[in-house]
């Protein structure tokens, strides 16, 4: 009897999702078409460009399709330093943003829980910088941190810095700018995780002899890990390819150039498209590799 019941009901249960999946496919179509047109096609074009070579005697910026692996060898020889610097800056800036954002997100998501109005206001303040262009904000920081700006001149006045000290154009300024610009991307996902955190787990931790610090590391932090992971990804990936903060016109100098800056100058100044394309491919592959290792190591499959 029981088996019979299952047998007759099974096809009914089965057909419903199948019908739905057709609708789902139809709904996905615009997205797929969009991705194919604006992601896959440019990607293939980029890969093809990265293998192009220069035919002697042609104009600047004219290249032929070829299979020129030398482009890749060239960028690793010439720009290896920039790549390492990009990864280094991105890691340091991401860690800084995390160290700043976690307490902020905790304060908004947990401490301010009992005051919904203030909580909403604090969240708005986190997003508020987006109302001003990111270029303008970075330029403003250049002014603030310049040698004649309020910060450096005050520190010089207090003899905390030597009279020839400067901050803009250094690695510190670039990392500062990167961390600053991406803090909202770090704060919001962590806030989302912490806002849902059930404080009864924290109480249970303290009931089971865990000090507040111990409870934080064994209960609060693991439970907010999904937010920390998405926050670090949302921060690390765009920072790795950023070319604004590290450029001469903003907080950087030629000594702080990241891969993004090299790609930009190869594209627009040297018009060396194959090298720019090869750099882009390598940057993309590197990020993909680092991120997949990170995601696997942090065990996101256990985090629901």
């Amino acid at each position: 009897m029981a088996f019979g019941a299952f047998a007759t009901s099974a096809p009914v249960v089965d057909s419903a999702p199948r019908r739905r999946s057709k609708v789902a496919l139809l709904l996905l179509l615009p997205g797929i078409a969009y991705l194919a047109l604006f992601f896959l096609v440019p990607l293939v074009s980029l890969i093809l460009t990265s293998f192009q070579e220069k035919t002697p005697g042609t104009d600047i910026g004219v290249y032929n399709y070829a299979f020129n692996v030398e482009n890749y060898a060239f960028i690793f020889r010439t720009y290896g330093e920039h790549m390492l610097r990009s990864v280094f800056y991105a890691v340091v800036a991401t860690v800084l943003a995390l160290l700043f954002s976690y307490p902020l997100a905790y304060f908004i998501g947990v401490t301010l829980r009992r005051f919904p109005l203030i909580q909403a206001l604090a969240l708005t303040l986190v997003i508020a910088p987006f109302f001003i262009s990111f270029l303008l904000r970075t330029l403003a920081w250049k002014q603030i941190l310049s040698d004649e700006g309020p910060v450096i001149s005050t520190l010089k006045g207090l003899s905390l810095l030597g009279s020839d000290a400067h901050f803009t154009g250094t690695a510190g300024a670039v990392i500062f700018g990167l961390a600053y610009n991406f803090i909202p991307f770090m704060t919001l996902p962590i806030y989302t995780s912490l806002e849902k955190l059930d404080l009864r787990y924290v109480e249970a931790g303290s009931d089971l002899y865990a000090s507040p610090a111990r409870t934080f590391f064994s209960v609060t932090l693991p439970l907010s890990a999904p937010g920390v992971i998405s926050g670090t990804l949302l921060t690390f990936i765009p920072i790795s390819g950023d070319y604004v903060n590290a450029s001469n016109a903003f907080l950087g100098s030629s000594e702080t150039a990241m891969v993004g800056n090299v790609i930009e100058s190869q594209f627009f100044t040297s018009q060396n498209y194959p090298i720019a394309a090869a750099l882009s491919i390598v940057l993309m592959a590197a990020i993909l590799l680092l991120v997949s290792i990170y995601v696997r190591r942090s065990g996101t499959e256990d985090l629901v």
């Binding site: 009864r200 787990y201 249970a204 931790g205 303290s206 089971l208 002899y209 111990r214």
Partner: protein, 398 residues
Amino acid sequence: MAEGFAESGADLELVGITKRFPGFTAIEELNLTIPAGSFFALLGPSGCGKTTTLRLVAGLEDPTAGRILIGGKDVTNTKPYQRPVNTVFQSYALFPHMTVLENVAFGLKRRRIADPLGKAHEALRLVELDHVAQRKPAQLSGGQQQRVALARAVVNRPALLLLDEPLGALDLKLRRQMQIELKDIQQDVGLTFLHVTHDQEEAMTMADTVAVMNKGQIEQMGAPEELYELPKTAFVANFLGQSNLFTGTVTSTGKDSFVVDVAGTKIEVPRERAQRHAGEVTIGVRPEKLMLHTTAPKQAGGTNIIGPGRVSDVSFSGVSTQYTVSVPTLGEIIVFAQNMVFGPVVNTGAEVWLSWTVDHGFGLADDPADGPRFEPDTDTKSIAVQRRERLEEELEEA
């Protein structure tokens, strides 16, 4: 303090505990001593302050005034993690990112007790859940989670184990089973259990001592039988089972008993079972002590007879039938009759008399129509606070 296993349960002493929240008082001047090794139940309706009492003992709330002593040591100003106390939370609060085994071993690891995993397995065997040790709490049923929560607390051998309505989410059968298991565990390990519940039956079947709490104070405390047979206040008489209460004036006093005139009906009550012996008193009798008669019974010494009245409602509940009898001038009286025959003995509308042995009556210290003990606080801010807390409670329950 919270080092190593407690050798045995410790006694808990609350001295003049008061807890005020913005806008209302949860507990007022509470004094309570729970002897070591006992199973103590704090029974009361929601909002009576029982959960607050538990949280104060656990250290999750700070008292406004008063002291808390565990095993003679003052722990009022210590943090929850420094107290030799563990709690089985109403919501279980099992860490969702840890396996069952990690959950149970958590407290042992924090206190650096040797072989935490072995002891955790042992505790899981005690609640018969060792086979799910590697699962996550979300993969367990409500009853299993409850047992894991119990194992996680018991494994630490706390001097005092706090149980916050731990059986609330279970179905009746599992509830019964867990009640017996809990009692067994308590006797096996000899810990002091403080059990908070609103379920009078649960409190009576499990606890050695029951304290009935109402409006932030303990109304009456004692062994379950004592509380049931001899309630001292109208609240206890009605919260712990049902009671028929009558208020009248004492007309004559004998050596062992006195007679109360309730709107013209004379009711005799034993002296030693009454709190007050003169003036206006409230007396009562439990519904199952009443006998139902279809003809007027003969007047005899040592028996109270009232009637005639009319049966206004009959409700069958398996073991017994509950009759509601309307007696003129006395109001509605509830009678439980054991089902010794098929079907109800009498039907709605029948004329009946009621009788009970004088020894079953009891006299209360107060009157049933008592006003609220705390003046309701009506400023808008406190109303808002209370409403939010009510909503939060409802959300938590949902």
